[in-house]
Amino acid sequence: MDPEDRVQREEVLRRAVLAGDERAWQPWYHETFDDLYAYVLWRSGGRRDRADEIVQETWLTAIRHVRRFDPRKGSFRDWLRGIVANVLRHDLRQHHRRLKREQAAEKCIAVESEYKDRERQERIAVTLGAIPERQEAVLRAKYLDGLSVAEIAAAWKESPKSIESLLSRARQAFREYYDKEADHVRTR
């Protein structure tokens, strides 16, 4: 869609929703839901239970603060992803505290493989939240949206070489944070 058309459409939808028009909200919600869910699931390291909570929290925050959404600053999808990042950050902090409390009990009850799976998902989620935003964006474009380097370069209006280099740095940063998080988990 043409950027101007997108801004116009989203502005109309925003005003309609603020006026209390449910019919405007319905298509907007349904056309964005799957994309947002996939993003949240990816950012949560594949943990569906956690993704469900984050998605719910994100949509409720979005509808309560839809007045703040400005279509000229970015698309509705990007605005939602910004909310996801904030919700995830907040959730991770709470999750760490909870994990410390439950650690002892969990060690006794949980099956070893299940525990390792959960730990791996946890590390991915933490790592994606820790790396710089631009690096997270390029990893998202590559792994979640499934775009090739050339496609990312075209979408971002940059050269394929610079995207290649950014992707390489992002992978390296991811590995470093991931390993660091592993050490952190082992020392806990």
């Binding site: 006026a19 349904h30 996939a38 719910q56 949509w59 409720l60 509808i63 590995r175 991931y178």
Partner: protein, 178 residues
Amino acid sequence: MSGPDDSRDELVDSLLGADGRPCGNGRLRGAVFAQTIGVIRFRRRLKKCALAGSLLGCYLAGMMTMGLWRPTSGGRPQPSTEHVAANLEPSPLPGPVGIADKQIAAEKMTCAEVLRRSADRHLLDSGDVKRAVRNYKTFLELSSAEQRAISPTQDNWLLMALKDARSKEMKHDRIEQN
């Protein structure tokens, strides 16, 4: 040829690679949608309440304005004692005489009588205390001592008050002269 970095990239690929695009389950989608619609409905109801409240406010303000305005516009003002007292001071010249006065004069009455009747009409018919006081004062200036005497059966409250004031004034003048 594959180096150690390639194998490390494979690790990243395996960790981050999404298995297709997973769709959120239908129940979650429906539940979250219902919650968001609830927020929209609440917002709409709030707006309607605010509108109804402002309309009610306007209506009440209008009612209050009408209530405040009505007493001043309706009814004839009652002459107050202050008003009479203010008009008891002597005026320098006798005031103009109306059409009704001219008709009375035509009946060949004494000037004092004409003024008195005119004052009576001003007071009793039109409630114009100011004009009545002016005519009564002129009447008292032109009248005889007999006419100036207070007569509770013939005089009204205003004339009696003016006559009383006039007699006191004359008494005071006499004392001063002596």
